[in-house]
Symmetry: C2
Subunit: 217 residues, 2 copies
């Protein structure tokens, strides 16, 4: 094992693939930031999770904050993409709402990384998100869905006519988000009863009932 073998090991024969490299970095950075926060996130560690070098990170993302911005936007993009697959337009308002809540709750549960990124951004004051019109736009559809449901519900008399779609979204988010964001402390204090698999299903369905009860005319 001489120096000659090691030094140019990867130097010969590689594919050019800017897209893949960036995706690779983004994925690693997401892991690292989600696990350790922004300030706790180490560029060095991100590199190790990657198949490329530190140089490439700065080549594509400028600096740590630029990388964070990219991670956050990517996270919102992929998360909201899944949401739009839901088609609630055909369902009766009450059923649509239940389906939306159950989906949201499960969706948050499946995407722990996303939750953590949002938590971190909140602690940082949300200024990166505030500067991103892209992320703002990504969130329009959810509220639009709820506006549609509320309108239809008010018309056919199944929902209270005074509902605020945005507040409704706030509520669904609150219940789904808190469930993940405060898992550690809540379970640490009160035990994991609400957070093991069976408990989560019970909790979710119980909350769904309550939401419906709250909006029914």
């Amino acid at each position: 094992m001489t120096d000659q073998e090691k030094a140019p090991a990867k130097r010969a024969g590689w594919k050019r693939d800017p897209v893949k490299v960036q995706k690779d970095i983004l994925q690693a950075a997401t892991r690292e930031f989600a696990d350790n926060g922004y300030n706790g996130g180490r560029i060095e560690r991100i590199v190790q999770l990657t198949e490329t070098s530190k140089r490439m990170i700065y080549y594509y993302f400028g600096d740590k904050e630029g990388l964070w911005r990219a991670v956050l936007e990517e996270a919102y993009t992929s998360i909201r993409a899944q949401e739009t697959e839901l088609d609630l337009a055909d369902l009766p308002p009450l059923e649509a709402l239940r389906k939306l809540f159950v989906f949201t709750f499960d969706h948050h549960r499946r995407n722990a990384d996303f939750i953590r990124l949002v938590m971190i951004e909140n602690i940082r004051g949300g200024h990166v998100l505030a500067a991103s019109t892209k992320i703002r736009d990504l969130n329009r559809p959810v509220v639009a869905m709820l506006e549609d449901i509320c309108r239809r519900g008010a018309e056919d008399g199944t929902l209270r006519p005074d509902l605020c779609p945005l507040q409704l979204h706030w509520e669904l988010s609150a219940l789904s988000f808190f469930n993940m964001s405060n898992r550690a402390t809540f379970a640490g204090i009160f035990g994991a009863g609400l957070h093991d698999e069976a408990g989560q299903i019970r909790l979710r369905d119980s909350l769904a009932e309550q939401v419906l009860r709250a909006v029914r005319a």
Copy 2:
């Protein structure tokens, strides 16, 4: 202004006051950690907020993590102390519940620092809190209150008999906590309509109604 004046400026003639010094440090550390997170929190900055020196931080709290532990315990202690002043035992279950929720909501709103500390501890995995039996004990009373309310409500027929006190606590916490924890991102995306003063009052009262609707027999 010679060196002789500056260097030993505070060196001569000072009072010994361990209790005050620790309180001073704890307060400054709370500020710093709440503002900048754990990893973003700088010992140096804490010192500047203090009337003592860096040396004292390590003298009393060992290391950064020890300081964090102390800050977290202190925060829980002072926050829960305020809660116990509530006396709900005399009120009818429904009124007691409304009062408890409104109090919790406002309480969280008043204590933004506490919220941020809990967020940070959650991001860190909650292992400091998990190791503190003290904090666990501090949280018993709240659930005890709810158990009492549920029991009385089931007896006099005003509340559904199948309510889970712990889940109820989870819900009140979720709504009150999310309101603060995700303020930055939520307002950044959807505007501050729900978060200005008027919006918060409306939101709070509306949520209170919904909670009651959900538990009524």
